[in-house]
Amino acid sequence: MKSVMKSGILAVAAIALSASLVAPVFARDLTVVSWGGNYQDAQRNIYFKPFSEKTGKPVLDEAWDGGIGVIQSKVKAGAPNWDAVQVEAEELALGCADGLYEKIDWDKMGGKDKFLDSAVNDCGVGAIVWSTAIAYDGDKLKEGPASWADFWDVQKFPGKRSLRKGPKYTLEFALLADGVSKDELYDVLSTDEGVERAFKKLDELKPNIVWWESGAQPLQFLASGEVAMASAYNGRITGISRTEGKNFKVVFPGSIYAVDSWVVLKDAENKDAAQDFIAFASLPENQAKLPEFVAYGLPNKEAAAKVAADLAKDLPTDPANMTDSISLDVDFWIDNAETLTQRFNAWLAQ
């Protein structure tokens, strides 16, 4: 999801700063913030522009790179300059507990029963279901990896690997590779021995890992042949195969999926318009257009039913893909992210 390069954030920050200095007198246009890249291009086509045409008011869109600190400092400073923001599941849980978001008007959204359970929250409406999965180049590996154990097996599949730099996902994948079953995954990870075991497993692969930080990197590494396989966001893997004629494959068994949600920042100037926007972006007929552009699953059940079969098979929400994949345990990560990140950084620095 973290697609935008650091340059993007800086540019956005600079623009935001200058805008806030120059134009406090005028009412700000509805500002919608998402993850940038081709995903936001698609959203602009199917959500931002049509909504602006419908209401006759301009919609500004900006990109961000995640981080609860960013949201917190905006809300605490008062009069945040963003209205609707797409956030990851932990940012939703943390911000909702800390009172950084407005409560969602679920009547406006058409009722909670229209959505997947995991997409319903007091403070957020699910926008997409996305997976982090193994990606490999089908043209280079005729017989690809089928599990994280294969990912760890550098004898059978020679070459480097790429993983996201950070403990989230990395520790889970290490335990899966070590033979932990998906149902016990978070039970094991919740114990000190489980964390120890995950780092031990990572030690094995450490010399062969190239770490990535922005979502485009693992696919660049794959394309240039720098690594043989990588963890990557499923939408990007499918996207590059569709648009650039690559034969990159997604391994759904053992993948971890999570829901990104729309939230409205507390006391944002356009908070009502932001709720209207989220309702518009959650309408089945609008949401159903997304898989044509990016292969992310749809939280609105009616929208998901409308997706053509050839597109649906690439989505994380497709029943065949869902069977052996794992839902990210948000509670585990909001409790442990800080300690485990510290531990991960220490391990990395060794």
Partner: protein
């Protein structure tokens, strides 16, 4: 008589923009950063009743009914979600698990239909002393916890300062690495910048202008643009590797990016102007006839350089090095884009605490450590230059 005060008033008025700027953009941010790192009121402000009861606890046995009742009363009285969030963040940072524990507890306490008898019945984690220890330790309004953690120290159960276990000790390694990288960049800048400044100072007319322009132009270009340019030059199929391979000098591409080499190259280039300009400004004040005079007295050019030019220009090298080193220890963008995981500097850790986990206390404490390091360096420099001035 009256001219004095009114003149002072007027000159103060003239200085006002500068003073306001200094206070607003320098004194106040520094002060708030430092106070963030030691202030610890997030818990105390919401739990006044617990603060009365907890000091009587022996810090080892399971919580008493009085402690549980006090905490329940405190939590029921909280009506500010953001303040609650600050408290939970603070507690979770000391003891993982408070996030889910607190949200479970507050929603159970909100359930007025069947109110919970005590906290342990809501979640059995409340029966464990370590969670209560985290609260007890967070009740004093001032803390040295962040500052200690910034240099990999912590207090144990009995309150003595000791080293954190190896798996939590990351800041020390990264701080050392930060100083090491900054030192290497300073040396590289001095090695390139000193001869450059000598040549520039010895020239005149358009040649000097061209040489100074070559230093100044990059200085006016954005840091990000220059870093991105190095990214393009250094990458595996980048200009440098392509050129070397075409010339047949190397067989495979050199690893120039995502490692220390790339970081040093890019940072040296970015910081070079801060080395060249101070040295140059010292060199042009040195009379041009000193070196010929030394030669006429029979000194070998190398000896003349070592005994005359070098001592006289050392002041420029010192202030250039100081500028480069101090700028380098705060670098963030260049190591993030050009470096690998083993090249991240302390700013990236600060960014994690500020952006990723909104732990402003830790971010502030690491900032204080950097600030102290900078001030120490500066005082060493000031002492050295004062001695220098006395000698002449």
């Amino acid at each position: 008589m009256s001219a004095g005060p009114s003149r002072t008033g007027r000159s103060l008025l003239l200085l006002a923009p500068l003073l306001i700027f200094l206070v607003g953009f320098f004194v106040w941010p520094l002060f708030s950063m430092m106070s963030q790192s030691v202030s610890d009121t997030a818990v105390l402000r919401l739990l006044p009743r617990s603060a009365e009861v907890l000091p009587d606890w022996d810090r080892a046995s399971p919580p008493t009914p009085a402690m549980q009742a006090a905490l329940m009363e405190d939590l029921k009285a909280v009506d500010d979600d953001q303040a609650l969030g600050d408290m939970v963040r603070r507690l979770n940072s000391a003891r993982s698990g408070f996030r889910t524990l607190m949200s479970k507890t507050t929603s159970a306490l909100d359930d007025t239909a069947n109110p919970p008898v005590d906290l342990v019945s809501i979640d059995d984690r409340w029966g464990r002393p370590e969670f209560w220890l985290a609260i007890a330790d967070a009740l004093s309004p001032l803390t040295d916890r962040n500052l200690l953690a910034a240099v990999d120290l912590g207090r144990n159960a009995s309150g003595d300062i000791e080293h954190l276990p190896a798996e939590q000790s990351v800041n020390g390694v990264i701080l050392l690495r930060t100083f090491w990288i900054a030192g290497l960049v300073t040396i590289a800048c001095a090695c390139i910048g000193y001869p450059y400044a000598i040549i520039a100072a010895s020239l005149s007319g358009w040649k000097r202008d061209v040489m100074l322009g070559a230093v100044l132009l990059p200085l006016w270009t954005s840091l990000l643009v220059r870093t991105a340019a190095w990214f393009i030059l250094l990458q595996e199929q980048g200009l440098i590797n392509d050129a070397l391979q075409t010339l047949g000098l190397i067989d495979g591409p050199l690893p120039l990016i995502f490692n220390r080499t790339g970081v040093i190259i890019a940072m040296t280039h970015v910081l070079l102007p801060f080395m060249v300009l101070p040295i140059y400004s010292v060199l042009i004040t040195i009379p041009k006839n000193l070196m010929p005079a030394a030669a006429s007295l029979g000194a070998h050019p190398i000896r003349a350089f070592l005994r005359v030019l070098l001592p006289l220009s050392l002041r420029g090298v010192a202030s250039g090095s100081l500028l480069v080193f101090i700028s380098a220890i705060g670098y963030y963008i260049t190591p993030a884009l050009i470096g690998g995981p083993g090249d991240q500097m302390i700013s990236s850790i600060i960014a994690f605490y500020a952006i990723g986990s909104a732990n402003w206390g830790m971010a502030g404490a690491l900032g204080v450590v950097l600030l102290i390091a900078t001030l120490l360096l500066y005082s060493v420099y000031a002492r050295l230059s004062a001695e220098e001035a006395e000698r002449y």
